[in-house]
Each structure stands twice: as C-alpha cells, then as structure tokens.
C-alpha cells in the first residue's frame, strides 16, 4: 500500500468535520469546473445583449453589437478547455462527436456546444461581416487579402440583393440564437439542477438562475470591454448606448436577485432535512464567497449604486465611473456564484452530518494558475479578433448599413 497516499489522505481527513463518506473527502470538481460555467455564462450573456439589437431593435446598443458577438466567439472558443483539462484526455474528446451517447446529459454538452458555435455564432458573424470581408479582401495586401478571401469563402457579391439577404439571414440566425443561448446555459444549470442526490444543487430553478446570472455577467462584461476599448481606439464613449447597457444590466440584476432570493426563501420554507447542513455550509465554509462577495459586493452594492444614479441623475463622468465599478463587482459576484454552486455543492457530506474542505492546487493541471490563464485567454483571442474584424467595419461604409 502506498504510504504517501495514506498519509496524504490522513492529512485531508483532519480538514473534515463530522461524518464524511470516504469518496466525499476529496473535492473532485475543481476550480476548472468553476471556470467552465462562468465562461459559458459570459458567452450566452454577450449573445443575448447582441440579440437585443437585432430582434428587439434597441438601436442605442448598435455600437456594442459587433463587440458582443466577437466577445461571445472569443469566450466560447475557450469554454470547453477547462472541461478537457479536468477530464485529462484531450486526445479522446472528439470521440464524443463520433460515438454519440444520447442518454448521457453530460455528453450532450458536445452537441449543444457544437450547435451553438457552428450554427449560431459563426454563421451570424459570417453574415454580419461578409460585406466587410469582401471589401477588405480587395483593399488589403497579399497574405491578409487571402485570409479575408478564404474566410469570406471567395464570395464577391456586393449587390443590394446579396446584402439584403445577409441582413435577413442575421436576423433569422439571431431568432434561432436566443433559444440556443438559453439552451447553452440552461443546459449547464440543468446539469447541476438535476443531481437529485445533492440538495444544494437539486432545484428546478437552477437552469433559470444560471441563465439570468449568465445574462448579468455577459452584459457586465461587454460594458467593461466597451468602456475600455472605445478610448483605446480613440473613440468617444457613446453615453446613450452606455446608459442603455447599464439599464439592461440593472434590470437583469434585479431579476437575477429576485430569482435567487426566491430559491433561498423556498429552501428555507421547505426546511427539508438538509437545511441544517446547508446553513452550516453557508456559515462555516461559504460565508466570504456567498454572503460577502456574491450577495453583498456582487449584488446589493452594485444594485444600490445603479439605482442611486438613476434617482440622483448623476453627470456623465460619475455615471461612467459607477457603471465601471459596478460591472466589475458584478463579475466578481457572478464568479463566486459559480464557485459557491460548484465547490459549495461538494463541501458537505451526503450524510448531512459533515463538511469537508477544498484545497486548491496551484500549479497542476487543475490549478489556480491555469484557471487564471483560461480566464485571460479569451481576452487575447478577442484582441486578435478585434484587430482583424474591427467592429467599425470597412472604412468605405457608414454605420447604418450594417443594421
């Protein structure tokens, strides 16, 4: 018997309190599984924001439309990486697609993901940028012009009919895209909500709570990006647009907050036998991440700030500052939502009589460092995307042509 392993497990045993079954001592779903729903949430949220322009005709949001789409693309490319790292066999991941197992909810992620990436995001971006790509292909020099040519599939059609068709296609895809975005993140919530043995997860509200927190985080992210990128490009920040984004953010946080409060009250009132261990979990293990960061800093403070400037009609500079700070706090809050769900759900024993501890790796395959890299990587991809597909479009056209 491996004595090192034994003494290691003995050390962990000291971190536990009460009755913990042997297979629950180690927290197996690590920070990678925290990063995964966080990233997919950002994707779904950014897309929903983009769809407000196309479907609900919120014209003020036009300056963020393309930015939201590219953000969604950059994040969805990285979203499955934490899963692959967690499972540890990247070379087998394609088997999910080739040998589909329709009975497994977890395996279905491959299809939900592929549908969303290929049928929704890529297509919508392609149609949205086709005209620009054709123009860029003509105007740029050799290697670049060929890249645009290949990406636009050698299309050369700038006729009015062709452009009209692009517009209709984008609209149609957005219409398919909204339920797909709901599916994508609702699915992630479903995976947790359907674990009936785990009272912290098992709740029909879970997919909906996930969805709204996704919308909140996605809008907040695009808001941050817009506020950072516009000055970098030397543009004025469009205050009308910013106010509108912030307004949607405010409403989304309110809905999200009410849903979570509903979930909480429901649990309290039902008072199932798990309630004691869950309250112990919150008081002993999740106090900082749930009560302080998620609820106080991530919701109540931003809500108060956003409500405050609506009541007191602050000037533009102050509004910008407050939007920015609340968006960052909200990001922090939503990240702890994921943390509290994923890690929190594994910290109490199914005996309902014991708690264990999560010890995060630092450098390993599932460690903190890699998690930070995964969180930063989409931003790098986004920078590259923005470089080649500037949201301002080709110089020769005016903005209104793309709506």
């Amino acid at each position: 018997m491996n004595l090192d392993a034994i003494s290691a497990s003995e050390n962990i045993l000291r971190e536990t309190t009460g009755f913990v079954f042997p297979n629950e001592i180690d927290v197996l779903w690590s920070i990678m599984i925290v990063v995964y729903p966080y990233l997919t949430g950002l994707v779904a949220g950014a897309f929903i924001l983009a769809s407000l322009v196309k479907i609900f005709k919120v014209r003020e949001l036009q300056p963020t439309y393309r930015l939201s789409l590219l953000t969604a693309l950059a994040f969805i490319l990285i979203a499955p990486l934490p899963l692959v790292l967690h499972l540890g066999h990247p070379e087998r991941s394609y088997e999910i697609f080739l040998t589909p197992q329709l009975g497994s909810a977890m395996a279905m992620f491959g299809f939900v993901y592929a549908w969303y990436l290929m049928v929704v995001l890529l297509l919508e971006i392609w149609f949205e940028y086709r005209r620009d790509m054709v123009i860029w292909a003509r105007e740029t020099k050799f290697p670049l012009s060929w890249i645009y040519r290949i990406l636009s599939l050698f299309s050369n059609d700038l006729s009015q009919e062709g452009l009209n068709f692009d517009k209709r296609a984008t609209r149609l895809i957005t219409i398919i895209g909204i339920p797909s975005a709901f599916l994508l993140h609702g699915y992630v919530g479903f995976i947790f909500g359907s674990v009936k043995a785990n009272p912290w997860w098992s709740s029909v509200l879970m997919p909906i709570v996930f969805l709204f927190s996704a919308i909140v985080s996605g809008i907040a992210l695009v808001l941050i990006l817009y506020m950072v990128l516009a000055p970098m490009r030397g543009e004025e920040i469009n205050m009308k647009c910013l106010d509108r984004v912030a307004a949607f953010l405010f409403y989304a946080v309110i809905v999200d907050f009410s849903l979570e409060a509903l979930d909480f009250i429901h649990r309290l009132y039902e008072s199932e036998e798990s309630i004691h261990i869950l309250s112990e979990l919150i008081v002993n293990k999740l106090f900082l991440s749930l009560v302080v960061i998620q609820i106080l800093l991530g919701m109540i403070v931003p809500l108060a700030m956003l409500a405050g400037i609506r009541i007191f009609r602050a000037n533009a500079e102050l509004r910008k500052l407050i939007y920015f700070v609340s968006a960052i706090l909200i990001q922090l809050g939503i990240f702890s939502v994921r943390w509290n769900v994923v890690i929190g759900g594994q910290m109490f024993s199914k005996s309902f009589r014991g708690l264990t501890t999560y010890k995060m790796e630092m450098l390993g395959l599932e460690g903190l460092l890699l998690a930070l890299v995964l969180l930063a990587l989409p931003l790098v991809i986004l920078a590259v995307l923005l470089r080649f597909f500037p949201p301002t479009g080709s110089p020769a056209k005016d903005l209104s042509a793309s709506t």
Binding site: M1, N2, L3, I6, S7, E10, L13, G18, F19, V20, F21, E95, F97, L98, T99, L123, W126, F127, R130, L153, F154, S155, N156, D157, E161, G162, F165, D166, A169, S351, G354
Partner: protein, 243 residues
Amino acid sequence: MRKLPDSLVRLLIVIAGLASVVLCIRFLVLPRSLTDMELHKQSAVERELEKPIQFAGSGICQECHEDEPATLAAGYHSTLSCETCHGPAQAHIDDFEYKPKAPRQRDFCPVCHMYDPSRPTGFPQINPIAHNPLLPCIECHDPHDPVPPETPRSCEACHAEIARMKAVSHHVQLECKVCHEATNEHMLHPRAEKPTKPANREFCGSCHAEDSDTVATPHIDLKTHGGRYLCWQCHYPHFPEAS
C-alpha cells in the same frame, strides 16, 4: 424557382463538405471497436487484460508461507488480505528477490484504527497520539494476530463514538454497566457474546419516574409521558435531550 443567393450557395458547399468529412470519418475511418458497443466492451476487456498484474490475491500466499496465513485466519485480522498491508505482491511471486514491504512504522495502523466517528459501532479505535506513544504498534501487537496484550480497560476502546457522546451528555455520570450487563467475554470476543440492552420503559423509570427516590434527576410521569413509546424512540439514551 428563385435563384439562391451567392453567399448561401457558398455556405452550403462548406457545410456539405464538413458533413461529408464527419460522415466519412464516422463510417469509413473509425475502427468498428469504437462504434459497436459489443466490440467496444470486448476491446476494453482486452486492453485491461494487457495491463501488468499487480496483486497476487489472498489465496496464493499460503502456498509458501504457512504460519502467517494460519495465524491471520484465526485472529481479529481474519478479514484482511495480506496485500492490504504488504502492498501489491505479484512481483514477489514472480521473483522472491523482490521483497514485499512490511509496514512496521507507527503511522500505518492508524489508517484503520484512528478514531473516526464514521467507523462502524464496535470497531476498535485508538487515539494514536495518546495510545502508548512513540513505540511502533507491532512492539505490543502481533500484526497477524493483534490481540491486545491485556483486555481493553474500557468500553471506549471499541465504542469510542458512544463513549465520547455520553461524556458530554446529561448521563455522563452513568457507567455503561448501569444500563448494559457486559461480561468480560464481550471484551475478548465481542460478536460471540453481546451485552444486554434495556428493554422497557420501566428501566428508565427506575430513576426518572415520579415515585423513584433519586435526587437531582428530572422526574416525569411514567404513565403519560411519551405515550406508549419506548423512551429511546424519542431520547437517545447516550445523549438524552429534553427537547
């Protein structure tokens, strides 16, 4: 029919291309063992069979070792397999030059014997810090026949969880023997001879009934209190609570 827009045609070509690549891989390239469940299971079995064997199993040791298996089977550790302590030993069977490890250090035995409330009732448990510290366990206990050198002094040896609970309860003053008649034999062969347990309400009533003459004991009306239920259907006798 209207002509399809140019862009759509191009997309459809790409999509058709992708789809045919996937279909080709699925039906032409993939080995059947990946797509056919029957074959898949079979090849998984073959894959596992190819792995080197680590454990020899508990039966084979007695072909060469006579004493240890016999002692082990007669003692408290009869349910343990040799390789639980000595580690995987197939290499030893193939070549005696390879010696299985013998866990002589003190930190090995507490893996099973350290106090842990989730262990089954009656399982012998010690506190490794307080129990004869510094000496290796095998100094006093033969690992193959771990009889304690003397009969355990208290019931706590094996009923640690109950004893620890009672120690902080209102019944802290009551010895186990007040409620359980336990013979010495139970300390030696606990499963062969079991102590008695209280059987009726009158037993608790001997101290708690209103007409009993105990002092400093809360009294109840034995006739009405708790209906016809046994007292321990509501009060855990080792940690009685009044609410």
